[in-house]
Symmetry: C2
Subunit: 119 residues, 2 copies
Amino acid sequence: MITYSPAQAAEVSGFSIDTLRYYEREGILRPIARTSGGHRTYTQDDLGWLDLVHCLRDTGMPIADLKRYAELSLDEATLAARVALLEEHDRRVQESIDALRSQQERLREKIAWYRTQGV
Amino acid sequence: MITYSPAQAAEVSGFSIDTLRYYEREGILRPIARTSGGHRTYTQDDLGWLDLVHCLRDTGMPIADLKRYAELSLDEATLAARVALLEEHDRRVQESIDALRSQQERLREKIAWYRTQGV
DNA sequence: CCTTGACCTGGAGCGCGCTCCAGGGTTTTC
DNA sequence: GAAAACCCTGGAGCGCGCTCCAGGTCAAGG
């Protein structure tokens, strides 16, 4: 089985080593496997999960929500509930995109107004 | 001339009274006029500026940038430079909208994948 | 082996953007 | 003219999401 050192996991996931440890402490990552000496070895599954985590963080999901989602994932039977949460998150992402666009529209109106003031 | 008490300025601008004071301390607002007793009286101009501030904050401009922008505004001759900064900000807003949309796209792909796993 | 670089833990610290508080003074209302 | 509501200042505190540090242990190359 292919595994990854902390440095490699950081490289591939795009999170810093410190952040990976922080996520594990917070329960966003399940406990990562260790070598006999105690060094972490990330699996491809771990990296797959981190990819989703990155996507959710980039779209503004708070750490606390991610943690609840991760806890849900411990129980196989919650798959439907998890997908529902992702869809709910998708709606919030859509709202923030819409909000950003409408504020951008206002910004552009203000720029246009300044332009009429002789720029 | 129409003026506004702190509470009214907060109501109209959508910022809390504490935030208005904070912005003034930080130099994002020019010093607000006072009554003989020291209470602030906001003018319509102040509220107009606060409206732009709200727009810029909502689109993610950091406090430090807003402060630099406000300092520029003290000099009439910088109008063109300020408009250029707003346009630069507009480009960054566009970038973050685009980033959000592409991450949303990935999120939707992940949801679709989970759906194939039997939800 | 032994060096060198990567990794470990627990906990402190930080940057941002507010938010709240104590202990007062001011303004408005009746 | 007194009560009630509002506002003042300076500074401390907070929530979030990391980031850094000390003081050690582990692992891979020569």
